[in-house]
């Protein structure tokens, strides 16, 4: 038994969990073409959720601050991007891939820009005064979430908003009897690129080194002469921007969004960071992919269980590893 554990550990340990999940699903689903479609959908969802969750996880790791208002960035990102896409609709329908892509790029840039500014405001006004006070932190960020949701309702109303997609991301690729939605492929690639970028930032740059050190022991980082509060604002803004981008991508993926989107995604994001282990980017990716795959597989095999499945997954993983699959070293 120990040797088996060792063997598994050598091949990547908990990182193999998504693979195991995919294999089990392959057997249960039976039809390879459906399995491929679901797996791609799960991975695409996983990477979008990863974007939404990464900031939450890093901010918690660095400052021990859990932002219950994080989902506001996701919703705002989605709605800001939707508004830009609607305003630029004439570019989207134009017979030019460049104009199509530009409209999408502008939508994403608007979401990111919004995330950066809102993140800065949120950090300075809402979070800063309640550092190190968990109870008030939870309450205040929750209050901020209530206010943000109301602002979204006041601006965009309660009715669903249809999000136009650029023409070149519509439709599916057909390979044999497997069909893959183009947008899912796009979301997967973009999400993967951002993960690689984040990974590079964290592991190959001095700022990344500071963040990783700060997650472990912020007092010591300060004792070495670095102002961690400034670093924290940066991370907070980055996290908010990523959440907004995740929301924007999600808007294009769902094509129909309601103000309830933030709340729904928040639950998934929480489950992801709990499963993955707070404070680690690798853990967050792992959690996001597991959750994305599970949601799609279960949604196909037993649609009624889809939402509860993630909850059951979380409980099971918490019993097994109370700190999550790949927590940051503390």
């Amino acid at each position: 038994m120990d040797r088996l554990a060792e063997q598994i550990g050598r091949f990547g340990g908990v990182n193999l969990l998504p693979v195991a999940l995919a294999l089990v699903a392959f057997v249960l689903i039976g039809a390879p073409s459906s399995w491929v479609t679901l797996t791609v959908a799960g991975l695409a969802m996983g990477l979008m959720v990863f974007l939404m969750a990464s900031g939450l996880s890093l901010v918690f790791g660095l400052m021990d601050v859990l932002n219950f208002g994080h989902s506001a960035f996701i919703s705002f990102g989605a709605f800001v991007a939707a508004s830009v896409l609607i305003a630029l609709n004439h570019w989207l329908v134009a017979d030019s891939v460049i104009l199509n892509a530009l409209a999408l790029a502008f939508a994403f840039i608007a979401a990111i820009g919004f995330g950066l500014v809102a993140g800065w405001l949120f950090e300075t006004i809402i979070v800063r005064p309640v550092y190190r006070d968990h109870l008030r932190q939870i309450l205040i960020t929750m209050g901020a979430l209530i206010v943000s949701e109301q602002v979204i309702l006041a601006i965009w109303g309660g009715t669903p908003v249809t999000v136009p997609r650029p023409h070149f991301l519509e439709g599916s690729w057909i390979i044999g009897d497997v069909s893959i939605e183009v947008y899912r492929g796009f979301a997967f690639v973009l999400g993967a690129l951002i993960f690689v970028g984040l990974h590079f930032l964290l592991n190959r740059t001095r700022i990344g080194l500071l963040i990783r050190a700060g997650v472990e022991n912020r007092e010591m980082v300060e004792s070495l002469g670095f102002n961690i509060d400034r670093l924290f604002i940066g991370v907070f803004m980055l996290g908010s921007a990523l959440a907004a981008l995740g929301g924007a991508m999600w808007a294009g993926y769902e094509t129909l969004i309601t103000p309830a989107l933030g709340g729904e995604m928040m639950i998934i994001v929480f489950i992801v960071v709990i499963i993955g282990g707070l404070g680690s980017i690798r853990g967050t990716l792992l959690g996001a992919i597991i959750v994305g795959l599970t949601a799609n597989y279960v949604g196909y095999l037993a649609p009624k269980l889809a939402l509860a499945s993630n909850m059951i997954l979380m409980m099971a993983i918490l019993m097994w590893r109370p700190k999550g699959l790949a927590p940051a070293v503390k």
Binding site: R206, R212, E216, M220, S223, N227, A328
Partner: protein, 234 residues
Amino acid sequence: MSLLSLEDVRTDIGQYAVLHCISLEVPEGGVFVLLGRNGAGKTTTLRSIMGLWRPKAGAIRFQGEVISGLHTAEIARKGIAYVPENMGIFGGLTVEENLVLATEKGKFDPDRLARIYGLFPALEQFWTKQAWSLSGGQKQMLAVARAIVEPRALILIDEPTKGLAPSIVAAMAEAFRDIARTTTILLVEQNFHFAKSLGRDMAVIEDGRVVHSGTMAGFAADAELQNRLLGLAT
């Protein structure tokens, strides 16, 4: 003029006053040893100097400049390094990353690196290992090395010999003697023999107050005083 001076420093943790009235003059050069029983306030004194606890009253001066009230990072940049009791090693980072983080520009000064290798050969050997995998003694070496990666005027070291094997304690003493040639060390230590062999000046803290200060030679010679202040059987 002394390098570091504390004037009537009072520090509260939560609602409890831990330091009541600490006054210290740490001269430049050599090792200054802070002695005292457990819970006397030695660690709190170091943390107050470092700005990790904000003193409620009193002033801390470093090179003539008031540093109490400054942010920890600013205090560190004035040229004070801190080696906490738990060593403050970043376990998820490699030995190299731990050290490179302590450099100002992200690059090593070759001479200083050579000196660190000379003092602590184990660090060179485990250069690319993650720090959590080091032994306790090696972690302590890494923590001290991190404090001398850049030139500093003062290093605060909190109980470096705690839980270490005698051979490593001896190596550590050797390293401290070498470091003290260029840098002042403010050392908190329970191991009196270790402290005696290194210290030039010293002070004893009791219940958040300085109850004795003077030269180490004088204190070491006065068995009655040691017994009264530290409860040491001689």
